[in-house]
């Protein structure tokens, strides 16, 4: 897939983003069912079941490492996210050259940050060495393959019983039958932690600044 033309689009607030990256604007529509219409003050109630909520974005971009011409053109046209993604990818150790397929997802309340909601944007890179990589690559399927890999990697680490192992072998078996023709040879991730301005907590309080004015010993 070729890179999309970087259509610079300036929002009222925020960085300049291209059309492709405009999907970064988070849509809270999925929480509609979990909030009371009249209750202005309530936060979205996410039925936390211990599993991570991945909010897949409608974003797919394939580029050629190391130059990454698609991201480069868009970054030069002003897109801040394409620039950041390109910079992060350039710092990654990868076979040279190779095709990289990028997917994005927001993560809601991951295990490391259960006190938070919208915590992280994860850019997943699938490294594919296949030159004529087709459009047929089904996003959902490649995603589920990713997760399976993650699980079996965790199993490798644990001093797991043989029962576990046979289960994972079964899963792998099913997987092979469903797998797409384009199988990533490796994967990498870049994380962007989500921040926003909010109520001042203790460490943001201006009164501390007057209590501790800059002074030399």
């Amino acid at each position: 897939m070729c890179s999309l033309p970087a259509t610079a689009k300036h929002h009222d607030t925020g960085s300049i983003l291209c059309e492709r990256c405009s999907v970064l604007a988070f849509d809270d529509q999925i929480f509609r069912d979990f909030t009371e219409e009249d209750d202005i003050s309530s936060l979205p109630v996410f039925p936390y079941d211990g599993s991570l909520l991945n909010l897949e974005l409608d974003y797919e971009h394939t580029d050629l490492f190391p130059e990454l011409p698609g991201l480069k053109a868009s970054a030069e046209a002003g897109c801040a996210f394409c620039a950041a993604l390109r910079e992060a990818t350039s710092e990654t150790t990868l076979p040279n050259p190779c095709h990289i397929r990028f997917h994005l997802r927001y993560m809601w309340s991951p295990p490391c940050a259960q006190d938070f909601g919208l915590y992280m944007l994860l850019a997943n890179m699938s490294i594919i060495d296949d030159e004529d990589e087709s459009e047929s690559a089904d996003e959902d399927k490649s995603e589920s393959a990713d997760e399976d890999k993650s699980e079996s990697a965790d199993e490798d680490k644990s001093e797991s019983a043989d029962e576990d192992k046979s289960e994972s072998e079964d899963e792998d078996g099913d997987d092979d039958e469903e797998q797409d023709e384009v199988i990533p040879i490796a994967t990498r991730s870049v994380a962007f932690v989500v921040e926003s301005e909010g109520k001042k907590s203790k460490m943001l309080c201006p009164h501390l600044v007057s209590k501790y004015p800059r002074r030399l010993p």
């Binding site: 009222d12 607030t13 960085s15 604007a25 994380a191 926003s196 301005e197 909010g198």
Partner: protein, 587 residues
């Protein structure tokens, strides 16, 4: 309708607070000073040793003041000082760093040349001044570089330098001495408009974290502090290990945030949470003095060795010196002798490590690479973990079953099975740093020893670091862990001239039944025989055998090439009953 209510967006989406634009902004400085002040009393109670580093940088009392190196013996008071923990970088990067040498010492006593100061040191000076502290300790400037005597003496004092610093600056965001840690990149700002509550709108900021090269898929497991810490070069380096472990209070300057680690509390910039940190080296020391439980310290040391072994060094010969500051403090507390990374009074457990990352694809290659005393690449003897990068220790304790907690499933009642066992080491410079580099170290053992004749097959399930099983003449099954890679799985492996040297025995163990099951499954030939053996029950007294695999290098001298265990259920000590006792010298 789009009302941009400040804070509404954060409350609605429950994101992290926006970090400050600059790490050393007035708000952060005030916050750091407030936290240090709150913590001051406990800190002073714990760190009142009166130790002062030999030399310090005097930053003066005004920002325009010159910086000079001073000898603290000239001071009439105990100076409050900040220590810096940072990465030097590659040899070429480190070469560009301003250092104190015997030729620049007198000049530095007058004034540090301002044009030679690298970015990381500039930033450390800025932070120290912002904290209103006058004195700063930086190894490159406070130790005379290139002076072996000064270096050896000061490197073993490093533990005390960091233990007694007012606070330690940890430069997570800088990978080498040329990079600063006070530059923070701007986040990407993305507008948000709620489609459920039209009144909620604002901007969210996306702040890039370090790459996840070696941590595929682990992103979701990482908190913002983990990103800053675990993926930093600072966290990978060997020297920074003891600097971090021994510092009671740390300011960690990460790429995205500033973090405070104050005794047992971790706090992150613009984050209201206070997280209790795991127990520190100093906590373990306190437990030793209050409870008198020495095994706590030995356990703590094994954990230290495991976390430290994979840290990276520019010069591998610094493997033992880079942790010698911590070792010195430990040696004073437990009053034990230290031989090439292992404590005399915990020798058995210290010898039974298993290496997970192995080099050398076969036995002869491994033996060729095995450094012998006198060679230029000698770091430690073959029996020390210090030659390896990824280790694991068996779960063994000398304590009896009655003394173990209910949740403690370690193999217990560990005891010697050898007739005699002693170890010595010859440090490179015993007067200046007895815990630093070693020239030679040996172990003398009189114990039961037998040749390992049978071919081995891989143990299933595969875990990290392949184990091998060998069926001995009497039908016992030994689980062997080699110090080299070995062939790819599914192949049989025959060792040349390797003997099994019995060291110790233990009772019980959580995983042994599972392992036995898998051994039996893998090798149906042995099932009938193994079934005849009594499986270990709780309260059983049958013992697992533990020992080393050794290879001769001439004149009753041997090197370690692996370790073995024979679980009680598949033979235990039985195979050694008919064995003769030999005197072995291990290099």
């Amino acid at each position: 309708m789009c009302l941009n209510i400040p804070g509404a967006c954060r409350e609605w989406l429950q994101t992290l607070h926006l970090a400050h634009e600059r790490p050393l902004c007035d708000e952060n400085v005030a916050w750091i000073l407030d936290e240090l002040g709150t913590n001051e009393r406990i800190f002073e109670q714990e760190s009142s040793t009166g130790f002062i580093p030999t030399r310090l940088l005097d930053l003066g009392t005004d920002e325009a003041d010159d910086i000079q190196l001073i000898e603290t013996s000239t001071l009439s008071f105990n100076p409050k000082y900040v220590a810096l923990s940072y990465c030097w970088g590659s040899p070429s990067e480190a070469a560009q760093q301003l250092k104190t040498t015997s030729s620049t010492l007198q000049q530095h006593y007058q004034q540090l040349p301002s044009d030679g100061i690298t970015k990381v040191i500039k930033d450390a000076v800025e932070v120290t001044r912002a904290l209103s502290v006058r004195y700063l300790w930086i190894d490159a400037l406070c130790i005379i570089q290139g002076d072996d005597q000064d270096w050896a003496r000061e490197s073993q004092l490093m533990g005390l330098v960091y233990s007694n610093s007012y606070v330690t600056i940890c430069s997570l965001a800088s990978a080498n001495c040329l990079e600063g840690f006070l530059d923070r990149s701007s986040p990407i700002q993305v507008p948000f408009q709620s489609s459920i509550r039209p009144g909620i709108a604002g901007v969210i900021s996306l702040r890039r974290q370090p790459k996840l090269d070696n941590y595929n898929y682990r992103g979701p497991d990482y908190s913002s502090q983990d990103f800053d810490l675990l993926l930093s070069t600072w966290f990978e380096r060997a020297w920074t290990y003891q600097e971090s472990e021994l510092s009671r209070r740390k300011i960690l300057f990460g790429r995205s945030r500033v973090h405070l680690s104050l005794m047992n509390m971790n706090i992150t910039e613009a984050d209201a949470q206070r997280v209790n940190s795991p127990t520190s080296f100093h906590d373990d020391l306190r437990r030793l003095t209050t409870m008198g439980d020495y095994e706590v310290m030995y356990d703590s040391w094994l954990e230290t060795a495991e976390s430290y072994a994979h840290r990276q060094l520019s010069d591998q010969r610094d493997k033992l010196p880079a942790i010698s500051g911590l070792v010195r403090l430990l040696a004073e507390a437990i009053k034990d002798d230290y031989v090439a990374g292992i404590w005399q009074n915990d020798l058995i457990r210290g010898l039974l490590w298993k290496t997970i990352y192995r080099v050398g694809s076969n036995q002869s290659e491994h033996l060729q690479q095995c450094p012998l005393p006198g060679s230029a690449t000698y770091i430690s003897p073959s029996w020390s973990w210090a030659n390896h990068t990824l280790l694991s220790w068996p779960s063994l304790t000398h304590k009896s079953l009655e003394d173990l907690g209910k949740v403690d499933h370690r193999e217990h009642s560990l005891r010697w099975e050898c007739k005699s066992l002693s170890a010595w080491s010859r440090p490179e410079n015993i007067a200046l740093n007895p815990y630093g580099r070693v020239r030679d170290a040996r172990i003398y053992i009189r114990s039961y020893c037998m040749r390992l004749e049978s071919a081995m097959s891989p143990v299933s399930p595969r875990d990290v670091g392949q184990s091998w099983q060998a069926t001995l003449q009497d039908g016992s099954i030994a689980i062997c862990d080699l110090d080299w890679k070995g062939p790819k799985e599914e192949q049989a492996l025959a060792l040349e001239s390797v003997s099994m040297l019995l060291l110790a025995s233990s009772i019980g163990g959580k995983y042994s039944k599972q392992l036995i099951r898998s051994i039996q499954r893998d090798e149906p030939m042995d099932i009938s025989e193994a079934k005849c053996l009594q499986p270990a029950q709780d309260g059983s007294t049958s013992r697992n055998a533990w020992g080393l695999l050794i290879h001769p290098i001439g004149d009753d001298k041997f090197v370690r090439v692996g370790r073995f265990k024979i679980p009680a259920e598949v033979g235990g000590l039985r195979a050694f009953q008919a064995c003769e006792c030999k005197f072995i010298e291990l290099l």
